[in-house]
Symmetry: C2
Subunit: 603 residues, 2 copies
Amino acid sequence: DGFFGRWQHRNATGTLPHCVDQLGTSGALHNLRLVTGEATGEFRNMWFADSDVHKTLEAAAWLLASQPDDERLLAFVDSTAALLSKAQGDDGYLNSYYTAVKPELRWQEPHYSHEMYCAGHLIQAAVAAARAGVAAELVAVARRFADLMVDHFGKADSPMALDGHPGIETALVELYRVTGHRPYLDLARRMLDQRGHGLLNGERFGSSYLQDHVPVRQADEVAGHVVRQLYLLAGMVDVAVETGDDELFEAARRLWEDAFGSKTYITGAQGSRHRDEAFGDPYELPADRAYGETCAAIASVQWNWRMLLATGGSRYADEMERALYNAVAGSTSLDGTHFFYSNPLHLRTGHDGSHEDAPSQRLPWYSCACCPPNLARLVASLHGYTATTDDTGLQVHLYSAGAVRAEVDGVRIEVVTRTDYPWDGRVELTVTGSGPLDLSLRVPDWCSEPSLLVDGVPLDVTPDDGYLRLRRDWSAGVTVVLDLAMPVRVVTAHPRVDAVRGCVALARGPLVYCVEQADLPADVVLEDVRIDPAAAVVHTALPAVPVALTTEGALLPPGGDALYRTGVPENAATPLTLTAVPYFLWGNRSPGPMRVWIPTTTG
Amino acid sequence: DGFFGRWQHRNATGTLPHCVDQLGTSGALHNLRLVTGEATGEFRNMWFADSDVHKTLEAAAWLLASQPDDERLLAFVDSTAALLSKAQGDDGYLNSYYTAVKPELRWQEPHYSHEMYCAGHLIQAAVAAARAGVAAELVAVARRFADLMVDHFGKADSPMALDGHPGIETALVELYRVTGHRPYLDLARRMLDQRGHGLLNGERFGSSYLQDHVPVRQADEVAGHVVRQLYLLAGMVDVAVETGDDELFEAARRLWEDAFGSKTYITGAQGSRHRDEAFGDPYELPADRAYGETCAAIASVQWNWRMLLATGGSRYADEMERALYNAVAGSTSLDGTHFFYSNPLHLRTGHDGSHEDAPSQRLPWYSCACCPPNLARLVASLHGYTATTDDTGLQVHLYSAGAVRAEVDGVRIEVVTRTDYPWDGRVELTVTGSGPLDLSLRVPDWCSEPSLLVDGVPLDVTPDDGYLRLRRDWSAGVTVVLDLAMPVRVVTAHPRVDAVRGCVALARGPLVYCVEQADLPADVVLEDVRIDPAAAVVHTALPAVPVALTTEGALLPPGGDALYRTGVPENAATPLTLTAVPYFLWGNRSPGPMRVWIPTTTG
């Protein structure tokens, strides 16, 4: 019943059933039935709507791994797998749009088609099913399609093995991991090698939109469409790790420095531009026009997870945590059935929320519905991101109430966690095992004063590369209490981030806070509010907000009609008490204005 | 040989011949020849490329009015008019795309087609030709097309008279003014009345993109695609004035308050978003991602000109001046043959200039080439915007060396102006006339200390609604010296403009200044530069920059790797001397970074 557990419960009871329903109403299943002959009429929705089906299937498969007796879910998975199987061509090809609408253009417009992108999500669903031990038919369908792609694209003289939207690369590596079938890995590598030579038709958006402007090993800046870039990076790490390709891994590490050094929001969101859904220039991080697509935050978690697995570096877990608790969590309403596609850090007074790409509140579905089922699959597998093992022991990266069991080199270990994280930094771990092992506990980058008690005895708490490492024999059972002090932090951005100059953000633990109109007097315009960065910040609680923050600030006079004036004005501000709530909870009370970065009284 | 004169000379010798050449190479003329049968092959370029032809013709016609013996220009106009005449259908229809490519969809997709938009530019070219007394064939072609539209769209039971891209409205009113033929005006009014009811297909961009979301009389916010909105507003004023429609004029005035109160850059540019080339929310005015399309600044001049004519209000002339000297002038290179399509106020260090919509330097042409020929036609007619007459006299709005002759109520007046404006605020006017008249001289909003000498005698200089009004008998000839003091102004934006918080801009007279990398040491990153808003500012001169500004500031240390940090850092800055150049001249030395809004040492 921790934070993650409640999130997963909401996902299982709210988001996933909602996604399943939408597959019916949006036309995604209808399109597959057009192929099987079970339906007639027009193709509906986006040309890559098959991926909505696959992502929802993946979420269902992960969920079935923990609740295998859910008959409704099993029925959905089995019936949908059967539909996919029926829609699959004899040769293994499976794509409703290119089968029903454009059969003559199969594989002919890879810059646009999303055929491999959809195939990638099909394969990921199959990998989840294989790991959950369900839906053998789904695994068979995915393998048939993967074998077709290997056959068609995998030889030296094969056509170009590229898709405008990456995603297939990680999927093929994952399928290789599940099956041990090397040609899948080789094809993924081939795809990476062929990318970046301008082979895709970049006419409409340019090559960099598709990450086809520079060979992936030579890139030193993230560029173009954010989700495509991040999925590609996850694939780069996967291939690098499985093939021992240091050059490829170095490229991913270089791009990580670029992305997280100058192109990431404080919420972990990425994508500074609505135009092209793209990364911006270095330090171009507007709060109001932040695109921060939900799928990009999900992709960032996936990429950082792979970097973490490859290196054990805590910085990657820090970024996973930042994105999860802010950009990802904030995308979904408290009822689990309304979503943001873009995740701004400032919704202006007077905002025109009529556009789907920048609405004033979460919407139940989108014409391009990539995000909701992507959330469903991530959250359904969230527990899998909390801990890892290596040759020497167990590493705990993310803290939430629950239990982890593992066996390392013949030694069994179980860690039961009790905590109110992220509302409270106290994490109590009851550890029992069958022998000696390293237990590594991550100290988040935001925590400068961790403390540790082992069976009540204080221990040295100097982190080693971001982790407290305890080596002991766990046979007797031990209680470890990690206390991650969570003072409120007043955060500033790098001075080159023009968009938030003279502003601070409040943060506590992994949570970024924001000021919402709902907590201001009705006649106060949010943009006239200032915060005193030196004032004391007090914890309060609001309905559904365990820890809100209250501090002092000021209210500027309206500022007059002149948009520009000569001289630097002295504004006679009046005192104002401010309340801030966690960013991830914004927009659950009213669709009013919100801002994360608050101008200071001194700035 | 004043500022405007040199600009017009560059336009006549650089920009216009360049546009004429591009009509050949871009395919715009080729498309018309497809229709006439003089060419074969594919339709090339944009589906509205006819408008490039029409705009270039309009520019040529304006130019022929002042240099009627230019044989090359006459030959271009006559041969192109003949081509248009030949391409015109028997019924009067003229559009190369819908004739050559989509004949079955004529008038069927008005949200997309730009058929009337192109017709509007054809008519504007004809109006210019009629006023210049050239190319009678062009006038005939335009009238035939206008008559067809009146016939097809002008009756009570006619189809919807709307085009997704406004522009036709002003054109029809202008044609009415030239011909006195009332049905043109009535059709323009009909178009305004039908707009705003969601009748256009707004599927892709939404109704507000097309200003079809609210009836024009009820609108209280500018919205959507900026050029469309501004052309529509110009048409609203034209129709309101010609029909005495106060309600319609009030709507335009209301939208003016909105646009210039919260959605205009200090350069006069408009359009805060690359996505949809659109207005943003109130006070959403990012410097780096300013779209500020050149055509929008041109449209703003045209709209403000109409507001000025309708009211005599100096604020409209202020906005014309601001846009002309900054957003419009800055769009063109010193050689007159390279252009910006978007006009940002900040080009970041590390900017990716590979996209045509945000290049690092001016380009010779664009795949959507609306701006260059639009510039050509505006600049060719620039002298026409400097002064007006009414029942009582002559009003001078814009100052540049040259002569104005007019006759008001039987009294002739000639004003010869000598000035180095905008580099110097001294304007010497030699006035001779045949009797008593009001001479009104605009005092720009940026000038708080005008002074006036009439034949060497100081006069009271309290402006009346932004104008100094001199009523006298001009028969004897008078020398008027208006001195518009031009101290350097340190300008701040409204506190709600988040994007430039803690920044100031330097301005002098009508010119906004900027800091360019070209004037900084090579190893200084522009984003690390700060300005001391209290430091003295000194005039200097640089090659091709008559008045540059030098002042004191500071250089921050690079700021470290952390994108976010706890606490408000104290940065140990080192002193730095800054040079600023007029914004309109930026990018003529190197494609390096530039910024108008400079963070202060105190902010």
